[in-house]
Symmetry: C2
Subunit: 109 residues, 2 copies
């Protein structure tokens, strides 16, 4: 389940338009028009990107009357952060172990 | 440039096979066969995934004789980590600002 969610989250982040929408939404909620306005594309094209973000779980939206408001759901942002951060730390630790091994006097190594 | 690299890095991470390869490589370098062996797919299929990881900059490889050895290039892992981590922190700060605003006495708000 987590694996599948991470697939969707990383795929959603693999596009500059969708990252621009996330950049906007981490500042606070925004309507669909507010999200689409600065983008060099039509509203329907922007809405397709938004759909990918919603399906990934990074963004939720709620419609009140005719206005749909979008906001970040921080859970998947945290899960993506943890995955990458833990792997980078594992890599750093394996480098430390290699360094410690190479520092051993030759008769111990 | 960074934008394009992030596209490739997040796209590379959006697949469980490629994340499994990264999981293996953060432990230390591995040959292509060592990477492919635990995976439920043919060697050529595994090599296609490896190619995506190399094109993203997450992994580099070097061939000596008949053996190709792969290792993590930590730069793109760090860049992906920073991007997600900074956005999560921006989101947390905007939530704090909202909290502070809502905590104000009514005549100040």
């Amino acid at each position: 389940m987590l694996n599948y969610q991470l697939d969707k989250t990383f795929a959603a982040l693999a596009d500059p338009t969708r990252r621009a929408m996330v950049e906007r939404l981490v500042q606070g909620p925004a309507t669909v028009s507010e999200l689409a306005r600065p983008l060099p594309m039509s509203l329907p094209a922007a809405m397709l990107h938004l759909k990918v973000l919603e399906e990934s779980g990074l963004v939720t939206s709620q419609k009140v009357g005719r206005v749909r408001t979008c906001r970040i759901d921080p859970k998947m942002l945290s899960q993506a952060e943890s995955w990458v951060s833990e792997r980078r730390q594992m890599w750093a630790r394996s480098l430390d172990r290699l360094g410690a091994f190479l520092d051993q006097p030759e008769d111990e190594a």
